[in-house]
Amino acid sequence: MAKVYNWQLGREMDYPYEDARPRKQWAGLFDINKCIACQTCSIACKTTWTSGRGQEYMFWNNVESKPRGFYPLGYDVNILNLLGEQTWEGQRYTGQTIFERAPTGEKVLGWRPAEEDYAHPNLGEDEIVGSIEKGASYGLPHEHWMFYLARTCNHCTYPGCLASCPRGSIYKRPEDGVVLIDQSRCRGYQECVRGCPYKKVYFNPCTGTSEKCVGCYPKMEMGEASQCFAACIGKVRMQGFINRHDQVREDNPVDYLVHVRKMALPYMPQTGTEPNMYYVPPIHVPDSFLVQMFGPNAPEAVRQYRNAKDDPILRGLFALFGSTDKIISTFQVQNEIAIGFDEQHNEIVRVPAKEPTFTRPATDRLYQIRRQNST
């Protein structure tokens, strides 16, 4: 095993291949607090990429309800259970990764879902963490919680799928970091399904090969956001490119939220794959759960998010979420206006950092009727 540096763990770790970061790494930002699980992203992906025979059960993008929902069943709790104790000392992960804990004869610690585990794509939808006792719903804040988690392939820097493939059929594109399966070379061993801790690789029984999210790279090559990002009606997402942890640019929206403010956090960083989808955690969930999901910065990320309304740059940056179908490479916020630029620094979108609010009288005088909605 080679030694590679994983900035999300704050340390070096073992990986089957030498460090070979791409020239650019595409990344996604998700504001979990806005997601309503409308599944528009799931359908946008489904109709674009997985409507063929043998792809029926594939959801390269899915939205699941946490903590009771999974697709496939129990993918996260299973790998966390296999990993054993996951401990942090400050920003440094002191537990083991899926590569360091690989059993003898394996490259990666993994497991393969049974076919039945794919039987219910939205199992646990809207279920809260526990049962509500009589009268509890009248009090605030509510004790019980749930939230929606939109997921795609994480296009990891150190992919578990890539490490697992004994044939070298999986590769990471140097130009954008998209992780792809070579469909001319895959022999359908499903080792990648076993090795991906997020279970975002699927086996196609009609072609005999495994398939996964391609990041809509044909769109990305044209500066366009991927289907699931562009289709998000809740403006939950923003697509961009993340720089190395030691080459941070403050005018890069992904760098700013991930590296500078540490508000957008990787999902299950303790697996060691350095995932590149980053989540602003939900504000109403216990810290212990958030730390397990998103690492030690989760409580501070929530605190900052609660105060984001008082921060002009954060206000502007969050207003840029979902504001354009293009990929925003850099941004600036001036005089309560947020501006997004493409890679050539052409302006592609301009939005107010704060949406104006209009209040109408509660009664429509012309028709002498009370309005349902006055703001």
Partner: protein, 286 residues
Amino acid sequence: MDTKNVDVSRRFALGLFSAVAAACGRTPRPLQILDHVLAKRSSGALPKRAPASPLWDETSEYSTPLAQQNVTAPMLQQPGVTRVKARALHDGTWIAFRLEWADTAKNELYGPSTFSDAAAVQVPRESGTPPSPMMGHPGGPVRILYWKAAWQVADQLAALHPNKPPTDYPFLASAPEHRELMEKQYAPASNAGNPNFHKSGDPPLFLGEAEMFGSLTGVPNVELDGRGEYAERTWRVVLAAPLANLGSAVRPGRESSVAFAVWEGGGQNIGSRKMRSEQWARLILE
């Protein structure tokens, strides 16, 4: 004595014995058990799709233990099929191997976490000192003839999900003259020309070349044939290929090498998680 009549009656008796044995579902005892694989020249057309053909009784049998692949990761953690028997026939142009092994279950489905029974025959591509028996080594290529039970199933999806309702796939909406092209575009591996993609009616085999673990690459445009039959908890599988497609080492009148591997689908054997013969066996063609 009329020798012609004796010969006819002997052939009749042999044929009757074979027919009775076949009717009883048993294969007659092999003529001989050897410490090498002897490929006899077949007296009739090669039984490429007939694992139970009496022609297989014309040749001798070779039996070898199989060991867990434990050299490279991922390894097979639990043992699978521990012994395989092999016979071989050739007709000067093609060679056919018949492998036989005990398997408690027939696994011919190939889906998510569902694996198919499979078997392979490996030979050196070049004559001379054989390369590593573990899929060759750089500069020492091997040719591998691979059979998979799942490739004998006409429609894997229907077999996996027999109660699946009819689905309107987008490609079905295309004009008939474009249907094949559209269907291909919705099957990425097919579109990419992956030799692992088998459509209904294709021979259930694959021929590849390897120079080490993980390097198996399909040999394009080769004609292959074969078939497996499962009965009485036993697989009998014929894997046949033109001699020329196996390289230059395997030729009539010459000695070469051969090795075997078997995958038990029920034990989640796949890829390098396999049972294999640890050493080359001698392969002699009449």
